[in-house]
């Protein structure tokens, strides 16, 4: 078997914040009725988390669940376990109107860390990233310059960004430019 490799294979950059590609991350897109008990149990079994409310993200390391829209969740699991977790989930959801798909290899994940992490992302997305408006436990889907992206805070100084794998190179270059030394704005 060939060895799976993430889009940029752990590329990194140090500027006013550290940008790194996180490597392989198991991801399952789950669509269905989020108030359904069977779906909630499937999410609990896969991640140990409850179904998140509007724009909530319960993420711990490479496991968690994020609210993507009123009928869609993004389930994060370790890459090596994604096939087994997906099979268990599909089995559990058999009788309900729901759909779970492995999208791990269609995505790229970046981590922005450092005191200026919020500022780096704030240059690229039309989102209020101030501490009053955006906190750990929240997810925001938006755009990063010209491509779609989603992001959440792991802690006060660490952001994780998810984008399409086909746009990984573009997003990495964007983040590098936004993190150039001397480019602090000082807003957040």
């Amino acid at each position: 078997m060939s060895e799976p490799i993430s889009a940029l294979n752990h590329a990194s950059y140090d500027g006013i914040a550290r940008i790194e590609e996180c490597g392989l991350q198991g991801m399952i897109t789950l669509r269905g009725d989020l108030s359904d008990k069977v779906l909630a149990k499937a999410v609990k079994d896969a991640t140990g988390q409850a179904v998140p409310g509007q724009r909530a993200a319960f993420v711990d390391g490479d496991t968690g669940v994020c609210w993507m829209s009123t009928d869609e969740l993004l389930v994060l699991v370790p890459y090596a376990e994604v096939e087994a977790k997906l099979a268990a989930m599909t089995n559990a959801l058999g009788g309900t109107h729901a759909l779970a798909v492995n999208v791990s290899d269609a995505r790229a994940v970046f981590r922005i860390s450092g005191a200026h992490a919020r500022e780096v992302l704030g240059k690229l997305a039309p989102v209020d990233l101030s501490a009053e408006a955006f906190q750990p436990g929240q997810i925001r889907r938006s755009r990063l310059a010209q491509v779609a992206g989603a992001f959440w805070l792991d802690d006060e100084q660490t952001l994780r960004v998810v984008c399409f794998r086909s746009a990984a190179d573009y997003v990495f270059k964007l983040l590098k430019i936004a993190a150039q030394p001397g480019s602090e704005v000082g807003v957040y």
Binding site: Q54, S69, T70, P126, R141, S142, A148
Partner: protein, 109 residues
């Protein structure tokens, strides 16, 4: 800059996160309708200076369609509401009446 509140994800999304979807509350005429009805459905759009109802999609966001009521003259937004309706809810009509007494739009007022 137009800022609309997405009724599905609750985000105050600005224009570049949204995709415009044209006029709201169109009644479709398809097979079995007269040529005049089909012509009007296909081509005859409102182009008001003032109160207008539109469809928008939160394209760079939750991806959901929704409705917005706004003023084309001042860009004032009266409110946004669910896509799963064929006419604006009373609360939206009241909000418009409070700001634009005597407004009309197609057969609404």
């Amino acid at each position: 800059m137009l800022i609309l509140n997405c009724p599905y994800c609750g985000v105050d999304a600005e224009e570049t996160e949204l995709a415009a979807g044209g006029e709201a509350h169109l009644k479709r005429f398809g097979p079995g309708s007269s040529d005049d009805e089909f012509h009007d459905y296909l081509f005859m759009r409102e182009n008001p200076k003032g109160v207008h109802f539109e469809r928008w999609r939160h394209a760079n966001g939750c991806g959901k369609w929704f409705h917005a009521a706004r003023c084309t003259q001042t860009l004032e937004v009266f409110g946004t509401y669910s896509a799963q309706t064929s006419e604006p809810p009373q609360a939206i009509k009241d909000a418009i009446s409070a700001r634009r007494p005597g407004w009309t739009w197609r057969d609404l007022s």
